[in-house]
Amino acid sequence: MRRGIPLIVVMALVMILLAIPVVQATAVSKVEASGQSSSYRNINLTWELAGPAVEGDGFHIMFSKSPFANASNATLHSTVFTGPTTALAQPVLGEWYDDCQSSTGDGDWVMVFRGENGSAVVPAGTVAIQCDLTGMPAGEEVFLAIWSFDSHLISDDLSEVVTATSTAVDELPPDADTRPVWFAIGSIALSLVVLLAVLGWKERTAQGRSAMLYVAPALMALALLTFYPVGYGIVLSFTDANQSALGEQSFNGLDNYVEVFGSAGFLRVLGFTLLWTVVNVFAHVGIGLALAMALQGRVKGKVAYRTILLLPWAIPSYITVLIWRGIFQYDGLFNGLLGTQIDILGLPVPAAAAVIVVNIWLGFPFMMMVISGALQTIPGDIYEAAEVDGVSTVSQFRHLTLPMLKPAIVPVALLGFIWTFNMFNVIYLMTDGGPNLWFGEPGSTDILITYVYDVAFRRGLYGVAAAWSVVIFLILLWFSATYMKKTNATGAVV
């Protein structure tokens, strides 16, 4: 047994001797960092090596906002490898977020090479490397160190930690000038007070005067928070207001409207909006009418039916829409129940059908309740009279029920039209306008309102979005006016 010990010692010595040339990474001898770089959020880091780097050496640039003694407490910024550089691209300064240069000691700095995956590569023999590191926390002290490793990743070595602060700090745009808004609000409030005071002063009775006082708060709120924004929106539609220059917009004439009517998707999105609205309103009224008729009179379990059929209206719509989105997922309930494999929300036509079905599901209870209420006001004896005269059920429906329901259905259908036209939740939460979403264009299921949302809050073009809004408003106004004229629905108001 004793003879074994020297053998082990010898073997261990040999192993250590063999290992030394392999595991030794070229040590970093000196690190310097400076935040005096000219560009934004930059820190310049230079490190010198104890000897010329050999192939396989690598350097991780680590940084942190607090001092660290262990690489695992810091964040990796980028890595520089040592290796053969022939056939590698050599980009120019400013193309990368970690523009590095290397020197072999002759005083010349050479741009690093880039491997296929973009890793920085310096030639063997390099003795110093400097990097411009972008994306550092602005205006804060940053701690940096080089974590060098060798080709076998056996040894590693963290250099001393240096600190630097990038000179540039976040330059936020100056606060938007809020004076015009306050001025507008103030002047509207003032003129309303004057108007009401004049009206009140002209009233003969104390009653009339106090009426002005009672109405004033509501009118004021309406003027400031509805009419003012609407007017402001119309003004905005003639300006180049956008996300980055709030409050500094200037008038650009009809440019926004030219963009709206000239945009590639205008007719397509308008077409889908009309299809969406018309199909939905007809389905809502039709299904609502059918169910209201079915629940008319004595039906067993009427209360239970009504309560269940009210659910789509009672459950908040954002929840049900998301539930339907889950049902229509590729691995969702719809495909499960039917045994199909259709990517419903990923294909244009099925997605359009799905959003329409969901909105029909959401909207019929309201129509059902309205029509139910109207049905109850129809006196029962006219049906008895019709029965006696031998009028068939179909004719009774066409010539008695429908005409009697018309005064209730006509205004509610208009309201349904406006609501559906502006139904944001369903499209936004189901498909977000997709599929086929390309930047700057409406997707396959975008309706006008969801597209305007995209224009305003994804692309930040407030002026263009305002122009879209005005166009939508004019379409609705034109439609409502024509509809009311055609159906003589203007009575019964006030």
Binding site: A211, V215, L309, I319, D331, Y428, D432, S469, L476, V494
Partner: protein
């Protein structure tokens, strides 16, 4: 007279059959759509055949004329047979792996097929077909029709209603299933088999739910209070006083209700941004209370109209001031109405999505709707947690809605019909 009874009498069975076939045809349209979606063209052919047979059955079963009754009866029997055969074939063509839908599709054909064979071979139909009915029989048959037809019609009505109920309930049951199933399984195939409370404890144990709920409560209560403070006096003035500009003002309130939200959204956002009200509760409260204001004013005006004017006049005579009348008599009397209006504006604020999404973009200030939607993003969908949270959010709202449905619907429809 005798002729009349015999001429007018059509056996109940035929009416039932035509109604049933009509319903089946309508349902078969859905079945055909499903077949198309599955790409199962064999089943589609079978179902299409069944539909054709049913259409023939409808055409043959409604007719008063005496000629060709035998032929039509035979035709009806044949088509019933075909329908039945189609139903059975349709079931077998799916082989071993038929789903619930296939069973339903088969029933849509089997029920009218079977009832066709049964009803058309009944003795009354046979005698009617042979035109050998006695007068007394025809009169008894007419009486029977009058008695039984409504019951059968009610039965068909229930079938239709149950289908609608199924369509309404499927998403509801599914979300409950997802909420209590482990993981994020979407198929809901487990069907309540291994219930777990993990998602509920995730939601109730996390910070998000409570933070968003707090935001929602603050915004909704603020909206309710501010909205009522604005709406009650205005509604009262519109109901009780006649003054210059009343009509114009009321029309203004109506007009605003017709405004699409979108035209206000962008300028609203910019105004709120200028005033530094983005990501605050106040911004949303201001916006919501004004959005709901017109409807609240109209609802309250309607309620105040029902308070008798004599009460006020008596109080005025007794020396009560104008404001005293409003404060001491009108307000206490219309407290229930005010409660309903309050509930309405609370629910409207609680459920609002678009403005909350636009104004409050910071996670800290999300309201429940926006927070809930953030669980289902394009990149990541935590369906289980989402389901649990939606149940927590929806159940109180739905209960409130159902308990107060009569008042809410009255107020809403009154407002909307007038608007």
């Amino acid at each position: 007279m005798s002729d009349l009874a015999i001429r007018w009498f059509i056996p109940l069975e035929l009416r039932i059959l035509s109604g049933m076939s009509l319903l089946s045809c309508a349902l078969l349209l859905v079945v055909l759509l499903f077949d198309y979606l599955r790409g199962d063209y064999d089943s589609m052919l079978i179902h299409w055949l069944g539909m054709l047979a049913l259409s023939v059955m409808i055409l043959t079963s409604i007719d008063h004329t005496e000629e060709g009754r035998t032929k039509r009866r035979d035709m009806g029997l044949i088509t019933s047979g075909i329908t039945l055969a189609c139903g059975i074939t349709g079931l077998f063509i799916r082989g071993q792996e038929y789903l619930l839908v296939d069973l339903w599709a088969a029933l849509v054909l089997l029920i009218p097929g079977l009832s066709g064979l049964y009803l058309l071979s009944s003795p009354v139909v046979s005698r009617w077909v042979d035109s050998t009915l006695e007068r007394a029989e025809a009169e008894a048959g007419l009486a029977r029709n009058r008695l039984l037809l409504p019951k059968w019609q009610a039965g068909l009505k229930h079938v239709v209603l149950l289908h609608v109920v199924a369509v309404v309930m499927i998403p509801v049951l599914w979300i409950i299933d997802v909420a209590i199933s482990p993981g994020d399984a979407l198929q809901g195939g487990t069907l309540f088999s291994s219930p777990t409370g993990e998602h509920f404890s995730n939601i109730l144990g996390g910070e998000n739910f409570w933070r968003w709920a707090r935001n929602s409560v603050i915004v909704s209560i603020g909206t309710t209070i501010l909205g009522l403070c604005l709406a009650i006096p205005a509604g009262y003035a519109f109901s009780r006083y006649r003054f210059k500009g009343r009509g114009a003002m009321m029309f203004t309130f109506l007009l605003v209700q017709m405004f699409p939200g979108i035209i206000i959204l962008v300028p609203y956002f910019m105004v709120m941004k200028s005033l530094g009200l983005l990501n605050t509760a106040i911004g949303l409260i201001l916006a919501y209370s004004v959005t709901a204001l017109p409807l609240c004013v109209w609802m309250l005006k309607g309620f105040f109209d029902t308070v008798p004017k004599e009460l006020e006049e008596a109080a005025l005579l007794d020396g009560c001031s104008q404001f005293g009348v409003f404060y001491r008599i009108i307000l206490p009397l219309s407290l229930p109405a005010i409660a309903v209006t309050a509930l309405f504006s609370f629910l409207a604020a609680w459920n609002e999505f678009l403005l909350a999404l636009t104004f409050n973009t910071s996670d800290e200030m999300f309201t429940l709707p926006v927070g809930l939607a953030s669980y289902i993003s394009a990149t990541d969908a935590a369906w289980g947690d989402f389901a649990a949270m939606s149940l927590l959010v929806a159940i109180p709202v739905v209960l409130l809605f159902i308990v107060f449905q009569k008042f809410l619907i009255e107020g809403l429809t009154a407002g909307s019909v007038k608007g």
